[in-house]
């Protein structure tokens, strides 16, 4: 078990063992789209796992790269083998914290904007990451959505010269999480 995996396990155990309110999901959704003049390539994954500790504001999210589904068969193969190298880097993770959690009421069904900051690990590269997230509470389930742009150069993702005009440098990503309270 390497340090990163150990950290993930500790985060999960801390989240479970503490006395504060925790929310989690194993069926979160993430969608990406690479738009170029030549072709649009998109894919989605509905198996995102995430856990949120209300008292500390900490959140951890785990995305399995091989769980992405791309409608184009050839794009699916290239996505795993060439760009994301999913055998070597099987998951992307985000570990961070909501910085202004005290300013919102997480029991409100109104949509509220929060800032989350932390570290996004993708393709073996760790980058500091700050993001605005919209949250709302629907009958006890916490929904969190955000849209972001990922520059593939920032994460060491390289595209072969012969298909460079078919893969965008900046990829649009949308995340939707519906977290349920962890029952003790």
């Amino acid at each position: 078990m390497n340090l990163r995996q150990l950290f993930t396990v500790i985060m999960v155990l801390l989240a479970l063992c503490g006395s504060a309110q925790k929310y989690m999901t194993k069926t979160g959704y993430v969608y990406f789209k690479s738009h170029t003049d030549a072709i649009d390539i998109d894919g989605s994954n509905n198996k995102v796992a995430a856990m949120f500790d209300v008292s500390s504001g900490e959140i951890v999210a785990i995305v399995l790269i091989k769980a992405f589904e791309l409608p184009l068969a050839t794009a699916d193969k290239h996505f795993n083998e060439v760009y994301m190298e999913s055998d070597a880097y099987p998951k992307a993770t985000f570990k961070g914290k909501f910085v202004n959690l005290q300013n919102v009421d997480i029991n409100s069904n109104e949509t509220q904007e929060l800032d989350v900051e932390g570290v996004l690990s993708l393709h073996g590269v760790d980058k500091p990451f700050v993001q605005k997230v919209n949250i709302s509470n629907n009958k006890g389930k916490l929904s969190g959505t955000c849209s972001m742009k990922i520059n593939i150069d920032d994460f060491g993702i390289t595209v072969p010269e012969n298909v460079k005009d078919r893969v965008a440098k900046v990829v649009d990503v949308k995340v939707e999480l519906t977290l349920e309270e962890v029952k003790k």
Partner: protein, 136 residues
């Protein structure tokens, strides 16, 4: 006349081939693993334990591979696209979660039943995730 027949046959064959290739390239659902040979046969607990003990080694053994998993059904559900999802019973926080292909029928399954499924291992979050699965 023979030349004309040859050209028509060639055009028809090319059209059929192109349609087949396009249908594969632009398929809308992931390939199921029903017709693929499993590289390993495990109990659900055994697979989960392997990941909980050493994720890196478990990935080396199972990630992206077609495996057969046997275990007791804990929960039956469906994902947001209506595909059946089976959670296997486990003694720990995590579990083995298998998403079946959309044409798989789980109407005859029930919790506590022992079943085997064949699927592709997508990795480990809090659970071991299997995709493109078929009932055995």
């Amino acid at each position: 006349m023979k030349r004309k027949t040859f050209i028509i046959t060639a055009v028809v064959v090319a059209f059929v081939l192109a349609t087949g290739v396009a249908a594969y390239m632009f398929r809308s659902t992931p390939d199921c693993v029903c017709n693929k040979k499993a590289e390993a046969h495990l109990q659900a607990d055994e697979l989960l334990n392997a990941y909980e003990l050493d994720e890196q080694e478990a990935n080396a053994n199972y990630l992206g591979k077609v495996i057969t998993v046997t275990g007791t059904v804990a929960e039956l559900s469906a994902d947001d696209q209506g595909r059946p999802v089976i959670a296997f019973s486990s003694q720990s926080f995590g579990a083995v979660i298998a998403t079946l292909c959309e044409n798989e029928n789980i109407n005859n399954l029930a919790p506590n039943q022992t079943i085997s499924i064949k699927g592709e291992c997508s990795g480990y979050t809090f659970d071991v995730v299997l995709s493109k699965c078929c009932l055995q």
